[in-house]
Assembly symmetry: C2
Homo-oligomer: 175 residues x 2
């Protein structure tokens, strides 16, 4: 007999509806947060990313590692690919990347390779983060691009609570 | 008047034809080298990557950053996505990744995230390499996977000559 289909746990958090009139860091991080909610609803680790240029969104994605069976399908990677495709140019100069958690080793590297101007992340990650947490790839002296960093502070509590609640549920499922 | 079409410079190096009977590091690195030749023929930076599992190739790619307009389209990233798609599983446990140059910050991170067992690279890169060159992400204490590393020595001279000749030509074009 087949096992019953697995229903992803309902996400107890609601999306945010920021005003379109003030396009500040909180506005764009709210959109990244909404991507993270969408990730949870698909039973993916709730991390979201948005890339903005001149006040417009040019890339927006969430983690799809499990559904895509792809270890490279992190929110940041997908948003970077989208943004570069939109511009028709792999150099994302002057763009800002917003992400709900400090990028992992791979995604930290990708922010450097894509030459975004600034990275703004909500939740620092001392274990895996490579833009100030576990290490800072932005400090490698001979890498030919350096980022401006906004490390924590923008919707940090909201993004952390979302992640912590998801992992708490996952641990309970496995217990 | 339109500019004349740009013809990629002919690649003066030949592909390798290793025996299929001995599936050692030199065999798989030869296939990665052949991918790098294909990259050059498309006017892309000549770096190639092959992923092997149980003596079979499960991923094989070269850099396509320029043609794909995608800063994430490095050889390693594409080969990892291919291999995971082939297996239907994002965890590439027990696989070995062969690449003609030490992975950059992004790709070094991707080898960790994909959980390959071993990385074998031909040419060390003290400027951008993050598996021993500029830094070693494999040494981050709290990352939950560590790689076996074969750092240099396998077709190192051949892979270095290919890269150096390509960049020499590019500099001459720009002069």
């Amino acid at each position: 007999m087949d096992s019953p289909p697995v229903t992803p746990p309902a996400c107890p958090f609601e999306k945010r509806f920021p005003s379109q009139l003030l396009r500040d860091d909180t506005f764009f991080m709210s959109l990244a947060y909404n991507q993270a909610i969408d990730a949870w609803r698909q039973d993916e680790v709730p991390i979201g990313c948005v890339i903005a240029l001149d006040g417009e969104v040019i890339g927006s994605a969430h983690n799809t590692v499990e559904s895509a069976h792809d270890p490279t399908a992190h929110a940041e990677m997908l948003a970077i690919t989208q943004a570069a495709s939109h511009l028709g140019n792999w150099r994302l100069e002057n763009a800002t990347l917003y992400v709900t958690k400090e990028p992992c080793p791979m995604c930290s590297g990708a922010t450097l390779m894509s030459r975004v101007k600034r990275v703004c992340y909500a939740v620092p990650d001392p274990k895996m983060g490579c833009l100030g947490g576990a290490t800072n790839l932005n400090d490698l002296p001979r890498v030919n691009h350096h980022l401006e960093l906004t490390a924590g502070g923008v919707l940090e509590t909201e993004c952390r609570e979302l992640l912590q609640a998801f992992f708490k549920l996952k641990r309970a499922e496995q217990a």
